[in-house]
């Protein structure tokens, strides 16, 4: 390049040249930006190795930190039985009571070691023995693989042992960073476009209010709340707008009817302000979804099946089943019924993948563990049995559904301390600990066995105890990431894929990069 030429470039940028080169640049950048914006869609498409068959996962969160040390109890010839009986002293479940309740189970993977479930869980024990349920032992939040030996040198989950942080981390499956989204929300964000092209309503439905598990990145997929009676309508207009609307859907002439009419007219306006616009969108979407949920309910109401016991045709009424198990009207039963309605009426919702969330609170039994936990577990046990029965009924009434299509998994803040905080059997409770045991239930579950990396050593100062503690808090041997990834894999996300890495950013710390499926000790779901 000549001296004159270089000087020209430096000094003689004319308006014409500027416009010409600028236009060329913009024409180049435009498609580039467009391509980048489409990458997410391409990622979604790549994630869609799943077929169009229906699958749903149900997250059952036991709030407060359920004491699972009294749910899976070593009995009989189990070598840890003596430790349980001595260390749990005033808060133990007696083996004779387990025998009476019929909650004894065997664990085939450890040489048929004998365990007993809490005496309030006979139906869960029956489901386990029938191969419909399995336990995953010593699962918990982990920032990286942690043992008693490396405890002081590795990173730990943020604010270990605190309720809100551990709950959040179970739901996000990211233990070492501030919360930004839940792993359910990230699954939905990646697969919704391709799995649910005809979606009429969010694929994430909660029967217990907003939760972090279902927070999607950037709010791309909202979580939708339902109750056992259908959509949750706007407040102060009566049940299902009965005070504001006539039966034909027209507005009533009373003040409530006119108020609803005014509200909906205001919501129809367009707004420049982003918050006003967002509010309007949320309200309008809620009103539209109400109609779609009503359609789902009408499908469920139209289902009938031949009762194999009576050989008579019966309508599908879930409330009757829960009432028969003695838990009709309980909070957990209402939540189960809400999601069962959505499963039965799924055709109206247009989703081939659904994620549900329900919970049961009250497990923070610092005091009176024996008295406090028993009724909660009894409610849980009966609700689980009724839920399973209802799924069987849906399968009888709807030939396109089978129980292999829905998997329920449990989670909780944490397990509780091995030893009690008091010597008084009436007052004694347990405190916040760490690694816990979970259960999974459903037709796809390879049930009747324990998964994970072995039952923890039940000893203060033992191989699995947090060093320098005095109460017994098990260091998890399976991370929440690994546990959740098995469920995501069943849902259609491949191990080793970029989608799996997006959903579980820390999974590579626990799973080999060349893994194509769950480790054998965590392979609790049969992939169709």
């Amino acid at each position: 390049m000549s001296k004159h030429a270089s000087d020209d470039i430096l000094t003689s940028v004319s308006r014409r040249n500027f416009i010409r080169t600028g236009t060329c640049g913009l024409m180049t950048i435009g498609p580039l930006v467009n391509t980048i914006s489409q990458l997410k869609l391409m990622q979604s498409a790549a994630a869609s190795t799943i077929s169009n068959d229906y699958k749903a996962i149900v997250c059952l969160f036991l709030r407060g930190g359920c004491d699972m040390n009294n749910v899976l109890i070593p009995i009989g010839s189990n070598p840890q039985k003596a430790a349980y009986q001595s260390d749990r002293s005033v808060i133990q479940i007696n083996e004779s009571d387990i025998a009476t309740a019929g909650t004894a189970i065997n664990e085939p993977n450890s040489g048929d070691q004998q365990y007993g479930l809490h005496t309030a869980l006979p139906k869960l024990a029956a489901a386990y023995n029938a191969g419909q349920a399995a336990f995953v032992t010593n699962v918990g939040t982990l920032a990286e693989p942690t043992t008693r030996a490396n405890y002081e040198s590795v990173a730990h989950p943020i604010q270990l042992f605190s309720h809100s942080d551990q709950t959040t981390q179970w739901m996000s499956s990211v233990s070492d960073k501030a919360f930004s989204s839940g792993w359910g929300g990230r699954v939905a964000d990646l697969i919704n476009d391709t799995s649910n092209p005809d979606s009429e309503i969010s694929m994430m439905i909660t029967a217990s209010g907003n939760n972090q598990f279902m927070v999607s990145p950037g709010g791309s997929i909202p979580q939708y709340s339902v109750s056992s009676t259908g959509a949750i309508s706007l407040a102060s207009y009566g049940s299902n707008y009965s005070n504001a609307l006539n039966e034909d859907g027209s507005y009533r002439t009373n003040a409530t009817g006119q108020r609803l009419r005014a509200l909906e007219e205001i919501m129809a306006y367009s707004h420049a302000h982003i918050l006003e616009k967002g509010y309007n969108t949320a309200v309008r979407r809620a009103r539209e979804s109400e109609a779609k949920v009503a359609n789902a309910f009408s499908i469920k109401d139209g289902l009938s099946y031949t009762n194999p016991d009576t050989n008579s045709s019966e309508s599908v009424v879930f409330e009757t089943v829960f009432a028969a198990h003695g838990v009709g009207g309980t909070s957990l039963a209402e939540e189960f019924i809400a999601i069962l309605n959505m499963i039965a009426g799924r055709e109206a919702l247009g989703n081939s993948r659904q994620i549900f969330f329900i919970d049961l609170g009250g497990f923070d039994n610092h005091a009176s563990l024996l008295l406090g936990q028993e009724p909660l577990l009894a409610q849980l046990d009966n609700c689980l049995a009724a839920y399973n029965e209802c799924l069987d009924i849906i399968a009888l009434a709807d030939a396109t559904f089978n129980t292999n299509q829905v998997t329920l998994f449990s989670a909780s803040d944490f397990n509780r301390t091995w030893t009690a905080n008091s010597d008084d059997p009436e007052d004694a409770g347990t405190d916040h600990a760490w690694g816990t045991h979970t259960f999974v239930m459903g037709g796809a579950v390879n049930g009747g066995q324990f998964y994970g990396r072995g039952y923890p050593e039940l000893a203060v100062g033992g191989a699995d105890d947090v060093p320098q503690g005095t109460r017994g808090r098990w260091i998890p041997t399976t991370s929440v990431d690994e546990y959740s990834a098995v469920l995501a894999h069943w849902f259609g996300i491949s191990y080793g894929s970029s989608e799996m890495a997006t959903i579980f950013p820390n999974l590579s710390r626990f799973v080999a990069s060349n893994a194509t499926g769950p480790a054998a000790e965590l392979d609790f779901l049969a992939n169709a």
Partner: protein, 204 residues
């Protein structure tokens, strides 16, 4: 000067700067003298204690000693007192903690303990991590990333095992709720957990 020459000069300056930088980096740094073993923290009781401590209490063995300072640090932060042994005293918190050693109501005691946790939160963004009294107290005693002392090692309400005791000599019962809140319970005069005379500060 033409653009070409200007570019050449700039390149030469950058290369020269890189050479100087690499040379400095490659030169061996003087090896710092290895810190001597920390001297035991002197135990000085401000009030009659239930556990006379002629030797350092066992809990001090689990606090990783900070690197000892050869020279006193000139503090630019009036809130801290940098000690020669590597610890940093949080002046306000230490003053607050002294109120646990004087006559006041149990509610005021609980408020003081709550204030100590708040001081820790202001320093680290979160309250101490743990579910047992001892592990939370050790963090207030200096087992934390900045070796900040919120309760002096000589405090009469810290037991030989490193637990923070209420005015009746029972360890406080802590309930970790979140990164911003810890519930605090005194077992009361009877020293029995969950009895009617327990006094508690807990949002739940």
């Amino acid at each position: 000067m033409s653009a070409k020459r200007l570019l050449l000069v700039v390149v030469l300056i950058i290369i020269g700067a890189m050479v100087v930088f690499l040379k400095f980096k490659a030169s061996p740094e003087p090896v710092a003298e290895q810190p001597a073993a920390p001297k035991p923290v002197e135990v000085e009781h401000l009030s009659p204690t239930r556990h006379p401590q002629a030797t350092p209490p066992p809990w001090q063995q689990v606090i990783l000693p900070p690197p000892r300072r050869e020279k006193p640090v000139v503090s630019r932060d009036p809130r801290l007192n940098h000690r020669d042994d590597g610890y940093n005293e949080h002046n306000a918190a230490i003053k607050v903690s002294s109120r646990l050693e004087v006559e006041q109501t149990v509610i005021q005691d609980l408020q003081v303990v709550d204030q100590l946790f708040q001081s820790y939160q202001w320093a680290f963004g979160r309250v101490p991590v743990g579910s047992e009294n001892r592990e939370l107290t050790l963090q207030l005693l200096g087992k934390n990333p900045m070796h900040l002392i919120f309760i002096p090692h000589s405090h009469s309400k810290v037991s030989v095992t490193g637990e923070l005791l209420d005015r009746w000599g029972s360890p406080y019962y802590f309930h970790p709720i979140s990164g911003q809140e810890i519930g605090i319970r005194s077992l009361g005069p009877d020293g029995k957990l969950w009895s009617g005379d327990d006094v508690v500060i807990d949002a739940q």
